[in-house]
Amino acid sequence: MSEIAEKVKAIIIDKLGVEASEVTPEASFTNDLGADSLDTVELIMEFEKEFNVSIPDDQAENIGTVGQAISYLEEHAK
């Protein structure tokens, strides 16, 4: 697993209070990991801070699963 993927998983585990085993690439923040709309906004903000990127709202809307977050950040992280 890439370093970015490791960091993404760690943020999700911390912010959503879930077990590492639940954080699979297919896991949806809202449907599988118990996040509500505010949790999702907070996750995106944490990704922005950790990876020093700015994720526009229209792109943030497409980040709904662990895998989507990892691919987005692998592509855009500086």
């Binding site: 505010l38 907070e42 903000m45 801070k49």
Partner: protein, 417 residues
Amino acid sequence: MSLRRVVVTGLGAITPLGNTAPTYWEGLQAGVSGAAPITRFDASKFKTRFACEVKNYNPDTYFPTKEGRKMDIFTQFALIAADEAIKDARLDEEGVDKDRVGVIWGSGIGGLTSLQAECIAFANGDGTPRFNPFFIPKMIADSASGNISIRHKFRGPNFVTTSACASSSDSIISAFNYIRLNMADVVVTGGSEAAITESGVGGFNALKAMSERNDAPELASRPYDKERDGFVLGEGAASLILEEYEHAKARGAKIYAELIGGGMSADAYHITAPDPEGNGVVLVMQNALRDAGISPAEVDYINTHGTSTPLGDGAEVKAIQKVFGEDAYNLNISSTKSMTGHLLGGAGAIEAVACIMAMQHNIVPPTINHFTDDPELDPKLNFTFNKAQAREVNVAMSNTFGFGGHNTSVIFRKLRD
């Protein structure tokens, strides 16, 4: 329309003296001080470096980390105290119609810690707004009543009262009125505050309102002592379950006391200074006595606002003497802020609990830290100095006054038919 009777059927508290209602009472009757050096932040550059903090507080023992993180500490205190009171009153059991249970909470400030943290984070950034989505819901004062209702599914009237240090006496009166007027059968009421943070301590220091007795924190809160030099900031919460009398009887609830009257008034004088003549305070006690339909002679105990400020303590005593006349000499008067410090918007709630416990045990908690008589105060008054006093307490009054000139008094009586 005749007004319905309202009784107290549950109590909860998390205070600088104890983290449950029974341990709070143990501290009160033992005459313990809750003051100590501040641990919540580095206060070394502050004029006041001590406060009455809730001891050994770790939110993780009460809330899953994910849940606790989304609440300011004043809301955490609110939920802890309310949970204890709700359990005490057995409100979560079958048979209580949750559509008829409201939550009316009090907080003078709300989520100051959260507000401060977010502003600091923004100031330290490059100007890009990165405010946390939980910032506003954590900060707003009504998040306390909102979170209590969500946790217990109480769908009755729900709001927060804000009137500085009178906030949670006003929430108690609001709850009382909603039940009396048949708009709810039960209301979870109370108040909480958590302002022991840089902006809270610095702000009150700037007002020159707080004691600066850093060499002896536990001796600093000394209402009615000649050498008093300001209040000591406290934090925490207390909750009371108020319930319509017949509703409580029908479900076999334990009844602690009856809430028989409430009064409100304004000083209309100055935004922070009390009216030295105590006119608003005279009016509020008269209003409460009239609402309760009792004479001054029937009151056994007044838990005063008595914050340990030079001006405020004297004005309140003067007002008590105007309202009670000769009967003032038969009263027990005490300021439990000498032990708990000043919980601001939580003061009315923790002091209402102190009044009810005093009636339960027939013990008046003391005004500790009395060393030197204040020649301005009538020595024939019984301020319950230094040690708790045994006394049959049938009627107790609690006074609270807030910046803005808000005055509120509530009166409890032992239940009788």
